[in-house]
């Protein structure tokens, strides 16, 4: 294990940016603010690139570089370090985070230019990059948790960025609390880890698992894996804790792109990648991951069909795509999951930036029913958006095709997968293509349906916004070419076409997940089915939203209960409210506080005993009223009683 003493600079630069803008931003002119923030994040990106090349210089088997900064918590046998770790996995992730992050910082200059809280926005954004790079580079699970909660905080602050709107402030709070529920599981996982492994360092844990994995209790490992996955369902919006992500769209759109699509929400996937060995030792936990992921991918996709808010569609799509990633992790196709994480970061960030560009042009309107025909007004946005849509739909040779196809194939071929998961993957792919093209057609094609006063202002976004989009569009095309599956590689006469997987291989090598072997022909067939499915989805969308625009309404009316169910997102929010939130509130208010606290403990108990003392003394005081006759009477009475007792006894 070698050292890499400059890794700390990656989180350091954005931290400085945050401090500068946070403390002095209010008085700084706008250009200074965004220069500070951008220089910070671009510096981090540069360091990340340098670190990446330094990592490449090391022999593949030994690509673990660490940067010990200082000992954070040290008590008894427990030592937790601030220590950063660079291996192929964190290298990929940090490049994505700082790279996409940097592009979105640039885009934000254009998007947020009118906002009065410009400094606050960039301060938070820098804080996010800081936290996220801590999360990614952490060499132990507690430090990862620091980043994990840190990004949650940034998410909270940025969702509720326009806090004067109660709905937005609420959405931020909902995100934080939902995440906290997940983190509750995460921290239990950490604690159990400490008990089982006696260390929290990833490298150490892996060593223990490699050499003594068989001696550890499978139940304990499964519990750890499940606890940590609960955390992941919060952060990465999986069933049952996904409910915050659609509401998180209340934040500024670049934030949705960066935090709620490209980077933060993938933290759970990354965590499982980090601890792949642990999960590999806990097959039950992996099965749970795969099952939850499959369900999430499918249900979220169905919810996306009926949404009319452009960002909501993308939000459910993100949930669904995260489901794909977890599906990969659940069947042990770790590299495929991380691969999809990367390509998704490109095209989903682009989709959000594109939608931001649209919303920007539409003076804030997000309802697709008021859009239409934007293609001619905003060509750059349209073409980049279309690229990303093709990518997410899984059309070759766009990036999403390679990663998604690998996942779908693995879900079938892996010994931990099966035909059911595969079928879910394909059906979801069809739905994905459908709702994405529905979105494109409703937004960019057909007649413009926007109000007159909005129509005048529709314009292409400035270069500061479109350039990041173009770069992401290029990445959405070529980003997948690093992970071409061998069958296709062969077609083009390229050996080792999947350099991405090869690069990550050392990280996942010890997991030893068995993949069934199938003939190339089978693989081709499966590929054809998923691409065919995607094309089918596009075709349906084309028919419904270009050819027969009257049909969607009719269909909706025909299957009205189902439509309503989907439109209301299966009423999950309402169920949570009436099942948990409201009862807890009422119990706390009426039973715990008013009854137990005020009435029983304080009323009956405390003041009751005070009152009984007062009552007793009030009665006793009549004997002490200063009236001599009463005293003499009681005296005589006493004497008589005593004498009587003595005589009789």
């Amino acid at each position: 294990m070698n050292n890499i003493y400059y890794l700390w600079l990656i989180p350091f630069f954005p931290l400085v940016g945050f401090i500068i803008n946070g403390l002095f931003g209010k008085k700084l002119p706008k250009p200074v603010i965004h220069w500070v923030a951008n220089v910070a994040v671009w510096s981090s990106f540069t360091v990340a690139v340098i670190a990446f090349f330094d990592l490449l210089k090391v022999v593949p088997g030994q690509r673990i570089l660490v940067d010990p900064v200082y000992r954070w918590i040290f008590t008894g046998g427990l030592a937790i370090d601030i220590k950063f770790l660079l291996d192929p996995l964190s290298a990929v992730m940090i490049l994505v985070v700082t790279g996409v992050g940097a592009l979105i910082h640039v885009y934000s200059i254009g998007y947020m230019h009118d906002d009065p809280s410009y400094y606050r926005y960039f301060a938070y954004l820098n804080l996010f990059i800081f936290s996220m790079s801590i999360l990614v580079l952490a060499s132990n699970i507690v430090l990862m948790f620091v980043g994990w909660e840190g990004v949650g905080l940034c998410s909270y602050l940025l969702i509720g960025f326009w806090f004067e709107d109660e709905e937005k402030a609420y959405a931020g709070r909902k995100a934080f609390i939902t995440n906290r529920i997940g983190d509750f599981g995460f921290i239990l996982g950490i604690l159990l880890m400490l008990v089982i492994f006696k260390t929290l360092d990833f490298v150490e844990i892996n060593k223990i698992l490699i050499y003594h994995g068989e001696t550890l209790s499978v139940t304990a490992l499964t519990l750890i894996a499940i606890f940590l996955f609960i955390g992941a369902t919060g952060k990465s919006a999986q069933i049952p804790l996904y409910v915050w992500l659609p509401d998180a769209m209340a934040g500024p759109t670049p934030v949705s792109a960066l935090i709620h699509a490209a980077t933060m929400v993938t933290a759970g996937v990354y965590m499982i990648g980090r601890l792949n060995l642990l999960y590999a030792h806990a097959p039950v936990a992996m099965a749970i991951v795969a099952a939850v992921a499959g369900a999430t991918a499918f249900f979220a996709a169905t919810m996306a069909i009926t949404q009319n808010d452009i960002k909501k569609v993308l939000a459910y799509s993100t949930v669904s795509q995260l489901g794909y990633m977890f599906m990969a992790m659940g069947v042990g196709a770790f590299a495929a999951g991380i691969f999809h994480l990367m390509t998704h970061a490109f095209f989903k960030a682009l989709l959000f930036l594109g939608s931001g560009s649209v919303i920007h042009a539409m003076s804030g309107i997000q309802d697709m029913r008021q859009m239409g025909g934007l293609k001619k007004y905003m060509p750059v946005t349209y073409w980049t958006f279309l690229t990303a849509t093709l990518a997410i739909s899984g059309i070759p040779p766009f990036a999403g095709f390679f990663s998604k196809d690998e996942i779908i194939w693995s879900s079938f071929a892996s010994s931990r997968g099966g035909v059911v998961l595969w079928a879910i993957g394909v059906i979801t792919a069809i739905i994905t293509a459908f709702y994405m093209f529905r979105l494109v057609y409703m937004t960019f094609h057909g007649e413009n349906r926007s109000p007159e006063e909005v129509k005048h202002h529709i314009h292409e976004s400035p270069a500061v916004m479109t350039i990041p989009m173009v770069i992401l569009a290029i990445l959405s095309v070529i980003g997948g070419w690093v992970g071409v599956s061998p069958v296709i590689g062969k077609l083009f006469g390229v050996e080792n076409s999947n350099i991405f997987e090869e690069f990550l291989h050392p990280v996942f090598a010890h997991a030893h997940i068995h993949f069934h072997h199938y003939s190339e022909a089978t693989e081709w067939w499966f590929m054809a089915i998923s691409v065919g499915g995607a094309l089918l989805g596009i075709l349906i969308a084309f028919y419904l939203y270009i050819k027969r625009t009257d049909l969607p309404r009719k269909i909706a009316l025909k299957v009205w209960p189902l439509y309503k169910l989907l439109f209301n997102k299966y009423y999950v929010d309402e169920i949570y409210y009436y099942l948990f939130i409201h009862p807890i509130y009422l119990i706390s208010l009426l039973f715990l506080w008013r009854f137990t606290d005020v009435y029983v403990i304080d009323g009956v108990g405390v003041n009751g005993s005070a009152k009984s003392v007062r009552f007793t003394s009030r009665i006793l005081k009549y004997w002490q009223n200063g009236d001599a006759q009463v005293y003499i009477f009681s005296f005589v009475l006493g004497v008589v009683l005593v004498l009587g007792y003595l005589l009789l006894a």
Binding site: G22, K26, Y70, R71, W72, I73, F74, T75, G76, L78, V142, F145, V146, E149, G150, L153, Y156, G160, F163, E164, D165, E166, A169, Y170, R173, F176, I177, R180, I181, D183, F184, I187, L188, L191, L192, L194, V195, I584, Y585, I587, S588, L589, L592, W593, T596, D597, I601, D602, G605, V606, A610
Partner: protein, 545 residues
């Protein structure tokens, strides 16, 4: 003796009294001068107390800067004070918070300033005395002495129901203390019976051996006094009233330091003096602690008054402390002790923050506010950071404490689990960990209703942001909130040795405990516990006394 021949502890403890004497001679109309004097004296006191921090030998489990003078020698009452890792940071917290509190009252208290400052100074002496006292009579004197200034602070400068709250506070605590006094006397006579001379000295009383039954009763008597102070559910109802009625300064001291007397008492006296009873009671106390964590949080959630909300949140936080202490391992107790400090900083800061808005609007009802972040951005930012510290966000102080408490409780659960399948503890940990959810629920909900949403109440339109005086206060607090979060080792390294010593005393085996008694009765042997094992060393009688 002392530090380099100086009776440093006495200087720090009694400097406030001298300050009070000075204030006594200032004209009562010179309010500003009186407060300035108070601030200067307490600040000097804080600066002097920093010597404790720097001169403290981190890896020694023993009392340092010890001073011992006979007071009523024939009764075994000595003026005996010292500081170890357990009391070090509590002393520093006290000297740190007092000047801040007086500074915070600069505008809030504008009548009877002289009395106010005098009471604050006396209170500081009493609190410091209780933390450094190593003789039970001395401790008891300081313990009771704290009540009086606090009683007046609530009763004179409090809100509408101040008299009710002050009396309730006084009687509640006094009831507990009386039982403790009886227990102290019992120990004292037991010591005489076993050793033939009278002593109230801390180290002497450890040699006394009690039967299990005696221990239970004594632990109950001490425990009740401390549990009321903590306060543990269900002895907590004095707290919300006291906090709501007390002036800001009173609340800060109450939450920041007085509550710690309870948990400190457990750690310093009740636990090591009665180890067998402590261990037997542990599951019940842990259960009450967990109930407190959840109950306090849920009741805090439904409060309409910000101050009451924070008061109930204290019950929740102190539940964590108790859970940590009764885990009987290093991480648990360090976490508990750290949470005491953290709670002093964070909740102290929260009460100060509430005071800021109360000074401007003379109300603390959540419904009166909304959208304050718009008019008071700095105030909102500070409030946010303190809120995050209170709900245990990693990187700030609260997380380290909570995490260590959970680690400790978890380890205890597994130790038990492996030994006799006692799964009760495991449930405690899971339930306690839900505290991190509830904390976020009540704090952020309150935060949203006060700072976010639309600014609708016209009375809030022109609220001024933090002024320089207030900013100084919060910057000071934030420094330590961040420091402990980022570099907790400052704290951990200095407390470890003393805590290990206490753990050894609590975890002593039954045989060793009663054997100690037999050996003691030979009256020539003193026990020192080193690390886990017990080492018996022969020391001539009377050494070190």
């Amino acid at each position: 003796m002392g530090w380099k021949g100086l009776p440093l502890i006495s200087i720090v403890t009694f400097l406030p009294v001298i300050g009070a004497l000075i204030v006594l001679f200032i004209d009562k109309n010179e309010g500003k001068l009186i407060k300035t004097t108070g601030i200067i004296v307490t600040s000097i006191d804080f600066l002097i107390s920093l010597i404790f921090f720097f001169a403290f030998k981190a890896y020694s489990p023993d009392f340092q800067f010890v001073e011992k003078l006979p007071w009523i020698a024939s009764w075994g009452v000595n003026y005996y004070v010292g500081i170890d890792g357990i009391s070090l940071f509590l002393v520093l917290l006290t000297t740190f918070l007092t000047p801040i509190t007086i500074l915070s009252a600069w505008k809030a208290i504008e009548e009877k300033e002289k009395e106010f400052v005098i009471f604050m100074l006396l209170l500081e002496t009493a609190m410091l005395g209780a933390f450094v006292a190593l003789n039970l009579v001395l401790f008891y004197v300081f313990w009771e002495l704290m009540l009086i200034p606090m009683y007046f602070i609530i009763g004179i400068w409090g809100g509408e129901r101040r008299i009710y709250a002050a009396v309730k506070f006084f009687i509640y605590t006094a009831v507990g203390s009386l039982l403790m006094l009886i227990a102290i006397l019992y120990i004292y006579y037991a010591h005489y019976k076993q050793f033939g001379f009278y002593s109230f000295d801390y180290e002497d009383l450890f040699r006394v051996v009690f039967t299990f039954k005696e221990q239970l009763l004594l632990f109950a008597a001490f425990g009740l006094a401390f549990a009321i102070k903590v306060p543990m559910f269900p002895f907590h109802t004095w707290l919300p009233d006291a906090h709501v009625e007390a002036p800001t300064a009173g609340s800060v001291i109450l939450a920041g330091i007085l509550l710690k007397m309870g948990t400190y008492g457990f750690l310093r006296f009740a636990m090591p003096l009665f180890p067998l009873a402590t261990r037997a009671a542990a599951p019940y106390i842990m259960a009450l602690a967990v109930v407190g964590i959840i109950y306090g949080a849920l009741v805090a959630m439904v409060q309409k008054d910000v101050k009451k909300l924070i008061a109930y949140s204290s019950i929740s936080h102190l539940g964590y402390v108790m859970l940590g202490l009764f885990a009987f391992n290093l991480q648990g107790i360090q976490g508990g002790l750290l949470q005491m400090i953290n709670h002093g900083l964070s909740t102290g800061a929260l009460f100060l923050l509430v005071g800021v808005i109360y000074e401007r609007r003379h109300t603390r009802l959540i419904s009166e506010f909304g959208g304050l972040a718009k008019v008071m951005p700095w105030y909102a930012a500070v409030f946010m950071i303190v809120t995050l510290s209170s709900i245990g966000l990693p990187g700030l102080n609260g997380f380290v404490g909570e995490f260590l408490v959970l680690v400790g409780a978890y380890k205890a659960a597994f130790a038990e689990y492996l030994k006799d399948l006692h799964v009760g503890h495991f449930t405690f940990v899971v339930l306690a960990a839900t505290g991190m959810i509830w904390g976020a629920v009540y704090m952020l909900w309150m935060y949203q209703r006060v700072f976010f949403n639309k600014l609708t109440n016209p009375k809030n339109f022109k609220l001024p942001d933090l002024n320089l005086r207030e900013a100084v206060i919060f910057v000071l607090l934030l420094i330590f909130i961040v420091w402990i979060g980022v570099y907790p080792n400052t704290f951990l390294s200095r407390t470890e040795a003393s805590i290990n010593k206490t753990i050894n005393r609590v975890m002593i085996s039954k045989e060793a405990y009663f054997n100690r008694g037999r050996a003691m009765n030979a009256s020539t042997i003193r026990i020192t516990e080193v690390e886990r094992g017990l080492i018996v060393e022969k020391v001539p009688m009377g050494e070190g006394r």
